[in-house]
Amino acid sequence: MAEEEKDSFVTMVNPDGVEEEVWSNLPGHVDRLLTLGWSYPVPKIEVNKIQMKSLTITTDKE
């Protein structure tokens, strides 16, 4: 790593399931952690509440 470079970090999940900031511009570090059981976090999807006014379910059987 050159002297003028700055550290950069990426969020990863350690083998215990805890998120940590990991040094990402040290060559090979992220790849090595992946082999040690680390993973990238699963993106969190926020579901908005849906207001339902009415719901009709019909079946073709009487």
Binding site: M1, E3, D7, V22, W23, L26, P27, G28, H29, R32
Partner: protein, 141 residues
């Protein structure tokens, strides 16, 4: 102990541009290296004389209690060792408060140390690092 004697208990060693100080350090050994002495070999100059050339062989040796949760410290040093990658370092001999001496530079990990598994004690290992090129002395702001 003299009034101005340094105590080693506040010493820290970190890697990276914004130092990640290693966890579990038991001891740090800093060898500033020596100057390479070169013998002049100039025709008609008799006798040859020594002149001081570049500084070389500065090394840092640390003993750590192995901590696999020290991701950006001990584990990163392992990565630098495997990948033969140089990394920036900061050595804080007295600690990191303002006015304390700070030694910075770049290094290669020469040896990541033997591990032995003693059932009655904490696992430690010795990491030997070779400073690459010149280092800089300054103070913490």
């Amino acid at each position: 102990m003299a009034n101005g004697s340094l105590l080693g208990k506040s010493a820290k060693f970190g890697i990276g541009a914004t130092p990640n100080y290693l966890k579990g350090i038991r001891s740090i050994e800093w060898d500033p290296g020596d100057f390479n002495m070169v013998l002049t070999d100039i025709i008609d100059e008799d006798p040859p004389i020594f002149i001081v050339a570049d500084r070389q062989n500065s090394t840092i040796t640390i003993v750590v209690e192995v901590d696999k949760t020290d991701t950006n410290g001990q584990v990163a040093l392992g990565t630098a060792f495997s990948g033969k990658t140089s990394t920036l370092f900061t050595l804080a001999r007295e600690g990191t408060t303002a006015g304390n001496i700070k030694i910075t530079g770049s290094l290669f990990v020469k040896s990541i140390g033997k591990e032995s598994y003693d059932k009655k004690s904490v696992m430690t290992k010795t990491i030997v690092m070779q400073v690459s090129g010149a280092y800089t002395e300054g103070v913490f702001p």
